[in-house]
């Protein structure tokens, strides 16, 4: 019965080796959560700034949840993709962050990473593009075994999320 309304935007991404990025995002929740309104996943446009370090998406996120429990608090997961000059898309990073648990406006930075693959893959990646991707993209936000992945740090995704919480206090949850 408690409700969360997440209104915000994916502001952009910084720190990636190239521009011309776009970002696929999704919100993952536990079973107790129900989406009342809004899209739970999406994809931004490709931002190709000429002389900026950052790519700006300004992609709106507006999603309204109702929940009957706290487990599986929503988390936003991202896949940053790079579109090269040939129009090919390659993966640039995975990342996820939790939706803040306190009401108000939050500026969130979500660091990203990508699997680095074997040496051979790295070489072929540097020449041909493409790159290793997770076979199982759920791994972005689940699984404690992620530490076994060999990854490279990529840039950050910047989010600005406004959180409206409702009725949590009714159930004795202080946010």
């Amino acid at each position: 019965m408690a409700e969360i309304h997440v209104i915000g935007q994916i502001v952009g991404a910084t720190g990636f080796p190239e521009h011309s990025l776009f970002c696929k995002w999704g919100i993952h929740t536990g079973g107790a959560w129900k989406i009342l309104a809004g899209l739970r996943e999406g994809q931004t446009q490709v931002d190709n700034p000429q002389n900026h370090q950052a790519a700006y998406f300004s992609h709106p996120i507006d999603i309204h949840f109702a929940t009957k429990g706290l487990q599986g608090w929503p988390k936003i997961h991202f896949q940053v993709w790079h579109q090269d000059s040939f129009g090919r898309n390659e993966l640039y990073g995975y990342g996820f962050c939790h939706v803040p648990t306190s009401p108000g406006i939050h500026n969130i930075e979500c660091p990203t990473w990508r699997p680095c693959g074997t040496f051979r893959e790295q070489v072929s990646q540097s020449f041909l593009g493409g790159g290793p991707q997770l076979k199982n993209p759920d791994m972005i936000y689940s699984g404690a075994d992620r530490y076994q992945l060999r990854t490279i740090a990529m840039g950050k995704i910047h989010l600005q999320l406004g959180i409206i919480l409702r009725n949590f206090d009714k159930y004795g949850i202080e946010c």
């Binding site: 536990g30 009957k68 429990g69 898309n89 593009g129 493409g130 790159g131 991707q133 075994d145």
Partner: protein, 1754 residues
């Protein structure tokens, strides 16, 4: 000790070099202990001189002090446990030493005493394992006892010195040195000072002491010596053997003469003297520290250097030499040696330091030691000098060292010690663990180490150290804490292999090569898949070039093949054998039964009987089968021979051979007698069998027969009896009657009986006669035998007939071509010319073809080609086309479909299969070839003709290719995402994995699992088995678990139950809004609290839901409509869903509003504008800016519909009826005003969404209003987005009324003073414009014909006025000029320019598109169509929609009228705009069948159907695509009449001449029929101005012309339409239903008044309505109305019929409401309502409603 030793070993090398280096603390400690004994030795010597006793005492004191100090220092230094141990030992030693000293002192004073003490103390010292002293002492003491004291002393000293000097040559030296010294005169000068004279007492004492000591020592060390040392010694001796041998060598190679010796002694003495002086001075004050001691050794003796070096040198030399030798001997020895050396050396050092003062001799010798380090002088010089004595290098005897070591060292054993020994107090070890205590796990130690430790501790314990006992626990083991180590490693090992779910895939950066239509390219394999088509060969079983002989040959071959197969199977033989066996067993059984009859019980007997019958049955069956087989065999044999004969005849006839076939028949002679016997036997058997069977049957039948016969007889008897009785009764009745007069009482008793009897009799007689049973026929053997023999003759080899064996060979010779007649030659030539190839079509596109190969003379073609097809599309079909190429022409022989191979079928594992084909090509040859599909006959007889089609077998296979790595190039199953959906499903759902997705009942599944005996160990079933995991591990009982928990602990932490969230209305509302459910789309302002929600929010929605439910459930009266509605709803939902997705895909324009950047051209135009002439009087129309949906959403803006009503024309005027009634009434104001102008006072009322506005009232039949009316428009849920607006189904009604003022003043007297009037409005006609039309067109402008009712009581048209009271308004139509638009203009939906897939030919499509584009650039206004979208969403060529289709029978026969009838029929099909159904999807053209089925469609469907009907009626018909008012873009039908063209509006059924200026069609874009499309390229587009000469290429441009001829497109329309007559009962029901409902509604509408119904009027009207229908909705003749008129003379009647196609009840109600009939306020008013529903086929219904209001005239 072991560790200690080791250390020393390590240090070995360094120590060798700096021999005098200050020893490390441990060594110092060691040295201490060593020293301790020395003083003992020294003391004894000191004690000898009483004079010096005191001094010695003092010396001792100081020594003790220093020692103590030293010890303290050491104590400080020692920290480690080892040191502790050492310290402990030291302290022990100290104590013992003190004791020793005391005893000495005591001994010196009082003899004899202290012996006991010594006895105690000495062993103690000796027992100390670490102390090497006792042994040494023993060794030392042994000598003095033997010899003189002094000698022993010197010896001892010398030995000491030697030890100190560490010369390993010692043992030899000792002997050598001892002997010369003994020889020399008694000791050197210093001796008298230091060495007191040995008194006999002391000697004796000493001797005693020593002996005692020795004894004690012996006792103490016995153990060790005995147990260990011996072994060790032995070993060491063995090791040292070599050294001893060497010793022999070294001993004598250095010589020592007397002089040298003397010199040595002298120098020594000198040294001693000097030394003695120095320390004596310093001693009392000076306590040398280690440093000082060091200095002492290193610095102080420079002056003496001169003398020393020689010895040193010699020593060192010797040493070196020795070392070298040792090195040669081996490392181990060296080490040992070194070890000993260092030890010895250290001992020596210590002695030097401390004892130097006391014993001068020793000191003197020791002094040499530090000089070792001094630079050496030339040995020659020394020798020359004379003071130098050459000494051999001295070294201790290894054996001795070993011995000593053995004495010193204690090496603990590694053997296991029995527990009993380790338990001190108790007798038995006590094991706590066994008693049940938790003991903990002991740390792991090696048993050897543990044993060693135990040994040591025990050793200590033996020495009486109680403390060491505490090391052992009660169980006899060393005490230990529990193992502190964790059992599991705290840092788990990281597995080498990556986790499967962490695996990454390397994806190349690729653009999507193929869209979703194709096989997804993103999957591994890159979307490249390969089909391998192997085309092997074709064998013709008939070919048109076959000669007659060929035909026969193939037949023969086929037959022979059959023969071979049959022979191989040999069924006949098999069955015969079986028969035999069966007979035997049945016989056996019978015998058995016979013989054991008495023994069997009843059950057994029946059982046997049953078996017997079974056998019989089986025998019969088998016999039948065998007979069949035999027959088949025989006929086959006959056929083969027959064919062969025919062939031979043919060959004879044509005199040449075409085929190499040859049939050889071998005969196998048989014995006739035997055969005959068998033959007869067989027949007899069979007869016997049948007989037996028949007899059984016969008995059975006889039994039945006898029963039936009995019954029959009984009945007959009864009947006879009854008949007789009745006859009697009749007789008796008359008799009675006769008698009754006489004796009435007599018959009284008889009467009731006979009554009953009579009844019974009647019944009996009435009973049907039973059929007379027939006697079963007895068995007739003769006939049967004949039959069987005949059969046998037919199917079996006759007795004596030889068995035939056939063999077909191809050894015959084919006649050479030259020898053949001409016909055959040409045939063969043709054959050799004939080529065959196969095309492979993939998804109906040719992808490959084989090379064309020549047909061989035996009509076989071998291709042997494997064609690889790389595919990117999903395989839908694989087709082979077999082509034949002879000369120039190429003919398609046959098409064959190959199945798409299974995934598992790869080219490696495929079997070539035969596919038979046949061709219907008819070919005839004029040579010997028999042709195909043509009759031919064999030989000259020409009797039996044959028609053979070309047939054959294609041997081919299709399989998935395999790449170089052996990976099959198979696309994943099913088009889906990048993941194989089945795989993932398999993961999730084990049930799906076995192909039974969606199984819900697990219990049943479990049952099935058991029943189907799946192997639980099969890995394929693992998932399933796991799911049905047995609870008790019993696989026989696989049952599903009752639950499956996805999220653990979720429920426990739930804040609220699920239902609460589900039932929360606010949440529901939010969700529905989000889902854009129609009712809640753009719902504004969802309140924050549930309670604030309006209660009825969901009412409407729920109702709809329920209705939907109802639609699914109930088949009510409108069943067909309901089905359609359902169908439509479904299609609509699908389309909506599709477009909802599309609508969410924004384009750049939707997001970015970018004004065009000014360019040069724009600047130019703007400049021009400046120069333009100002024309204020000619304002130019500006395009109104369209407003997007978002902009409207603000509250201040309101969307309005502007209706500008300009004028009306030809409005009917009030006619005679009113004038007459007026005349009757008299004096009313309207009658007074009655003139030509005021015949009618019309006004227009516009109604939309139940809002009405109206114009002011005008006068006359042709009024001009010029009024602008505003109607507000409200979109559903305020959603003004195009997709929502498209679905607005509201209709704008424009109703034309006549306003009439009625005076209702009752009292005439008041007429002068007051006015009491009522305004009545009379409906004259209406115009309906759907909102969608307005919305899609933006504006509607023009003159429209108003729909007027065919009968309008009381009104008529002007020109005919006066002639008749009731006027037929012939062709005069009331018109209305309006302009209508929406303000602000709304954005119109964009036509989804989606490229629809098409199955049309690409060339055609390209041509059409090109043509269309050309046209559109020229005439953008005119609409043109080439392709349309069909129901499946595919582009279809529009001409395919035209095909003559027969209208229902009842319309055809009507001749002239039929066209109009048909038009009416079509117009009655309800009209629903596509945009309403399929929002956004421009136009979907359904075929006529679909249209009739759905019973709804828009213009084009109506038009197409009408056109097709007209085509069937043999009219020249076209479809016009153009635009009309009010529809906008639409479709009409054009027909060619005698000398005119008619334009038909299929929606209304009306037709106009092309010349008619009132025709609603305004623009003609193109004409279409099944042959072609004509685009209008004339100047004008109005039909009236156009030429309809289609041949004129200046006026009409055609799609298919000379450049691109029509490909002759097939039609998509069905062959014929299916009509069914409408159910009359249903129609009647509906009629009543409508009527009832309308009555109720009217009463509802005028709830303020009483509604009276005039039945009489209703009756009359009801009669009228069918006439109207017959008249096709046209006005009827006056004769029908007169009746009505007459009847209601006294009433003022106003009313009109409404006609509309039946769609649903609501629309009917709406229409009636719109006329406003009910809005009559008068009290006296009465109503009449009649409904008539006329059924047309396919439940198309025409509904007529007549509503009239009657007001009684006064």
């Amino acid at each position: 000790m072991a560790t200690f030793k080791k250390k020393k070993k390590d240090r070995l090398l360094t120590n060798e070099e700096d021999e005098d280096g200050v020893s490390n603390p441990i060594m110092a400690g060691e040295a201490d202990s060593v020293q301790e004994i020395m003083p003992g030795g020294g003391e004894s010597s000191a004690a000898e001189t009483v004079s010096e006793d005191q001094e010695a005492q003092s010396l001792l004191q100081t020594l003790k002090k220093t020692r103590k100090k030293k010890k303290r220092e050491l104590d400080d230094e020692l920290i480690s446990p080892k040191d502790d141990l050492a310290r402990e030992l030291q302290s022990l030693k100290k104590k013992s030493k003190e004791k020793v000293e005391e005893t000495f002192r005591r001994e010196s004073e009082e003899e004899g005493e202290g012996e006991e003490e010594e006895e105690v103390t000495v062993p103690e010292v000796a027992d100390d394992g670490t102390l090497p002293m006792p042994e040494e002492e023993v060794a030392e003491t042994a000598k003095p006892v033997e010899g003189e004291e002094e000698v022993s002393r010197i010896k001892k000293l010398r030995k000491k010195k030697e030890e100190v000097e560490e010369t390993p040559i010692e043992p030899a030296d000792e002997v050598d040195a001892a002997t010369p010294r003994e020889a020399t005169p008694p000791p050197s000068p210093p001796e008298p000072e230091t060495l007191p004279e040995p008194t006999p007492r002391t000697t004796s004492l000493r001797a005693r002491m020593r002996s005692r000591l020795e004894k004690a020592k012996e006792e103490a060390a016995q153990e060790i010596r005995e147990v260990e040392k011996e072994n060790r010694e032995e070993r060491q001796e063995r090791l040292l053997k070599g050294r001893r041998d060497k010793r022999g060598v070294t001993r004598f190679d250095t010589e020592m003469d007397e002089a040298e010796l003397e010199r040595l002694v002298e120098s020594k003495q000198m040294k001693l003297r000097m030394k003695k002086e120095q320390p004596k001075k310093e001693k009392p004050v000076y306590m040398p520290t280690t440093e000082e001691a060091y200095d002492f050794f290193t610095r102080n003796f420079e002056p003496e250097l001169v003398e020393e070096p020689v010895v040193e040198k010699a020593d060192t030399e010797a040493e070196e030499k020795k070392k070298k030798e040792e090195k040669k001997e081996g490392e181990e020895e060296e080490k040992k040696e070194g070890e000993e050396e260092t030890k010895e050396k250290q001992e020596g050092e210590e002695e030097e330091k401390k004892d130097g003062e006391e014993e001068t001799a020793s000191k003197k010798e020791k002094k040499e030691k530090p000089e070792d380090e001094q630079p050496l002088l030339e040995p020659e010089e020394d020798i020359m000098f004379g003071h130098v004595v050459m000494c051999r290098a001295e070294y201790p005897d290894p054996a001795e060292i070993e011995k000593k070591e053995m004495e010193i060292l204690y090496v603990p054993s590694v053997k296991l010690i029995p527990n009993a020994e380790k338990v001190f107090d108790q007798q038995q070890p006590r094991f706590l663990e066994e008693e049940g205590f938790y003991v903990g796990i002991r740390p792991q130690t090696s048993g050897m180490n543990q044993n060693k430790m135990e040994h040591r501790l025990l050793k200590e314990a033996e020495k009486g150290r109680l403390s060491s006992k505490k090391w052992f626990g009660e169980d006899g083991r060393i005490l230990a804490l529990p193992d502190p180590l964790r059992g599991t490693p705290s840092r788990p090992p990281v597995p080498e292999e990556p986790e499967p779910h962490l695996e990454t895939v390397f994806r190349h950066a690729t653009m999507r090569e193929y869209n979703t239509r194709y096989i997804d390219g993103a999957i591994e394999g890159g979307g490249h898949y390969q089909l391998d088509v192997d085309i092997n060969s074709i064998i013709f079983s008939h070919h048109h070039l076959f000669s007659r002989e060929h035909v026969l040959a193939t037949r023969l071959m086929q037959l022979f093949e059959q023969y071979i197969i049959r022979k191989k199977k040999n069924m006949a033989e098999y069955l015969t054998e079986k028969l035999k066996a069966l007979k035997n067993s049945s016989l056996h059984l019978r015998d058995h039964i016979e013989s054991h009859r008495s023994e069997h019980s009843d059950a057994d007997r029946t059982n046997y009987q049953k078996r017997l019958t079974d056998y019989k049955l089986e025998i019969r069956k088998t016999r039948e089968l065998r007979d069949q087989e035999e027959q088949a065999d025989r006929t086959l044999l006959k056929n083969i021979i027959h064919t062969w004969k025919e062939m031979k005849a043919q060959r004879e006839l044509q005199k040449y051979n075409n085929t190499p076939l040859k049939l050889q028949i071998r005969k196998e002679e048989v014995e006739k007698k035997q055969d005959l016997l068998l033959w007869k036997q067989e027949i007899e058997d069979e007869i016997e069998e049948i007989k037996e069977e028949y007899e059984d049957e016969y008995y059975r039948k006889m039994h039945i027969y006898s029963e039936e016969l009995e019954k029959y007889n009984k009945q007959q008897e009864a009947k006879n009896a009854a008949r007789i009785r009745q006859q009697n009764k009749g007789r008796r009745g008359s008799k009675q009657r006769r008698q009754s007069t006489g004796s009435g009482a007599a018959s009284d008793t008889d009467q009731p009986v006979s009554e009953e009897q009579a009844q019974l009799d009647r019944e009996i007689l009435d009973e049907e006669d039973l059929p007379k049973p027939e006697m079963p026929e007895p068995f007739e053997e003769g006939e049967l035998r004949e039959k069987i023999t005949a059969k046998a003759r037919e199917i079996r080899r006759r007795p004596g007939e030889p068995k035939l064996h056939l063999e077909l060979t191809t050894t015959g010779t084919v006649t050479a071509t030259q020898q053949c007649p001409r016909g055959e030659q040409s045939r063969r030539e043709d054959v050799s010319k004939c080529k065959v190839f196969v095309k492979v079509l993939f998804n109906n596109k040719e992808v490959s073809r084989t090379t064309s190969k020549l047909l061989s003379q035996d009509f076989k073609v071998n291709f042997g080609q494997i064609l690889n097809l790389k595919i990117v599309q999903w395989p839908e079909s694989i087709k082979f086309q077999i082509f034949e190429n002879s000369g120039f022409s190429t003919d398609l022989l046959a098409e064959l479909f190959a199945g798409i191979p299974e995934v598992s079928v790869t080219s490696q594992a495929v079997q070539i299969e035969d596919m038979e084909f046949s061709s219907d090509v008819k070919i005839q040859h004029n040579h010997e070839g028999v042709g195909s599909g043509r009759p031919f006959s064999f030989g000259s007889k020409g009797t039996d003709t044959l028609i053979l089609m070309t047939t054959g077998t294609l041997t081919a296979s299709v399989a998935w290719g395999v790449n170089d790595n052996g990976v099959p190039l198979v696309p994943p199953i099913g088009p889906g995402g990048p993941y194989n959906i089945f795989d993932s499903m398999k993961k999730m759902d084990p049930v799906a994995a076995i192909g039974a997705a969606g199984v819900m009942d697990l219990q049943k599944l479990a049952k099935w699992f058991l029943a189907s005996r799946l192997d639980p160990n099969d890995p394929n079933n693992a998932d399933l088995v796991y799911m049905l995991r047995p609870r008790e591990g019993d696989f026989g009982q696989l049952l599903p678990s009752d639950f499956f928990r996805l999220e653990q602990l979720q429920e426990e932490f739930d804040l609220v139950p699920d239902e609460e969230i589900q039932n929360n209305r606010r949440f529901q509302l939010l969700e529905l809004r989000d889902l854009e459910v129609l009712d809640f789309r753009n719902f504004k302002m969802v309140p924050p609290f549930d309670r604030e929600l309006a209660r009825d929010v969901f009412v409407e929605y729920d109702r709809k839901k329920r209705e939907e439910q109802k639609l699914k459930q109930v088949e009510d009266i409108e069943s067909h409509r309901a089905a359609i509605a359902r169908f439509r709803q479904r299609v609509r939902e699908q389309v909506m869903q599709r477009f909802r997705v599309l609508a969410h895909q924004k384009k750049l324009d939707d997001v970015v509003n970018e004004p065009a950047v000014p360019n040069v051209a724009m600047i130019g135009t703007s400049l021009m504008r400046v120069l333009e002439r100002k024309r204020p009087m000619r304002p130019q129309r500006k395009e109104r800016k369209k407003i997007t949906a978002q902009a409207i959403k603000g509250d201040e803006k309101e969307v309005k519909i502007l209706v500008n009503i300009l004028r009306a024309g030809d409005i009917p005027i009030r006619m005679a009826l009113s004038s007459r009634t007026a005349g009757g009434g008299g004096g009313r104001p309207d009658t007074e005003r009655k003139g030509k102008e005021s015949l009618v006072r019309p006004f227009v009322e516009v109604m939309f969404q139940h809002n009405t506005v109206k114009t002011s009232v005008a006068d006359g039949p042709n009024p001009s209003f010029n009024e602008e009316l505003e109607l507000s428009f409200k979109a559903p849920n305020d959603d003004y987005s195009p997709s929502s607006l498209q679905q607005v189904t509201d209709i704008i009604f424009l109703n034309l009324y006549d306003e009439m003022v009625v005076n209702i003043l009752e009292d005439d007297r008041e007429r002068g003073t007051s006015i009491h009037q009522r305004i009545e409005k009379h409906w004259l006609g209406s115009l309906k414009i759907p909102f969608s039309t307005l919305y899609l067109n933006g504006k509607i402008d023009g003159k429209f014909t108003i729909d007027t009712p065919p009968i309008l009581l009381g009104y008529g048209h002007e020109q005919t006025r006066g002639e008749l009271d009731l006027i037929i308004n012939h062709d005069v139509r009331t018109t209305l000029s309006i302009f209508m638009t929406i303000e602000p203009p709304l954005t119109q939906p964009e036509h989804v320019k989606e490229k629809f897939t098409s199955t049309e030919h690409e060339k055609l499509l390209a041509h059409a598109e090109n043509w269309q584009r050309n046209f559109e650039t020229k005439f953008p206004q005119r609409e043109i169509l080439t392709t349309v979208i069909d129901v499946n969403g595919k582009s279809v060529f529009v001409t395919r929609y035209f095909k003559p289709l027969h209208p229902p029978e009842e319309f055809i026969s009507k001749g002239e009228q039929s066209a109009e009838l048909v038009a009416r029929y079509v117009s009655l099909i309800p009209f629903v705009s596509d945009s309403v159904i399929f929002a956004g999807l421009c136009d979907i053209w359904s075929t006529c069948a679909q249209f009739l089925m759905m019973l709804s469609g828009d213009e084009e469907e109506h038009a197409v159907l009408l056109a097709n009907y007209f085509l069937a009626l043999n009219k020249k018909t076209w479809l016009i695509i153009g635009s009309a008012i009010p529809e906008g873009p639409t479709a009409y039908v054009l027909t060619e009449e005698q000398d005119d063209f008619w334009i038909w509006n299929a929606g209304t059924g009306k037709h106009f001449s092309v010349r008619d200026s009132n025709c609603p069609l305004q623009v003609v874009g193109c004409l279409i029929n099944s042959e072609n499309i004509w685009a209008n390229i004339q100047q004008y587009e109005k039909p009236a101005q156009m030429s309809f000469v289609l041949n004129d290429s200046k006026c009409w441009s055609t799609l298919f012309g000379r450049t691109f001829p029509s490909p002759g497109l097939g039609s998509v329309q069905p062959e014929a339409l299916y009509y069914f007559s409408t159910d009359k009962v249903y129609v009647r029901d509906l009629q009543e239903k409508i009527e009832q409902m309308l009555k109720n509604k009217i009463m509802d509408w005028r709830s303020r008044h009483i509604t009276r119904w005039n039945r009489h009027c209703t009756q009359i009207i009801r009669k009228l309505l069918p006439i109207l229908e017959e008249n096709l909705g046209k006005p009827v003749g006056p004769q029908h109305l007169t009746e009505l008129e007459q009847q209601f003379g006294s009433y003022k009647v106003s009313g009109f019929p409404i006609n509309l196609p039946f769609t649903e009840l609501n629309s009917i109600i709406e229409s009636v409401y719109a006329t406003g009939v009910h809005a009559q306020e008068s009290r006296e008013i009465e109503f009449a309502l009649a409904v008539y529903v006329h059924p047309y086929p396919n439940s198309i219904l025409s509904v007529w409603i007549y509503v009239a209001s009657l007001i009684r005239q006064r």
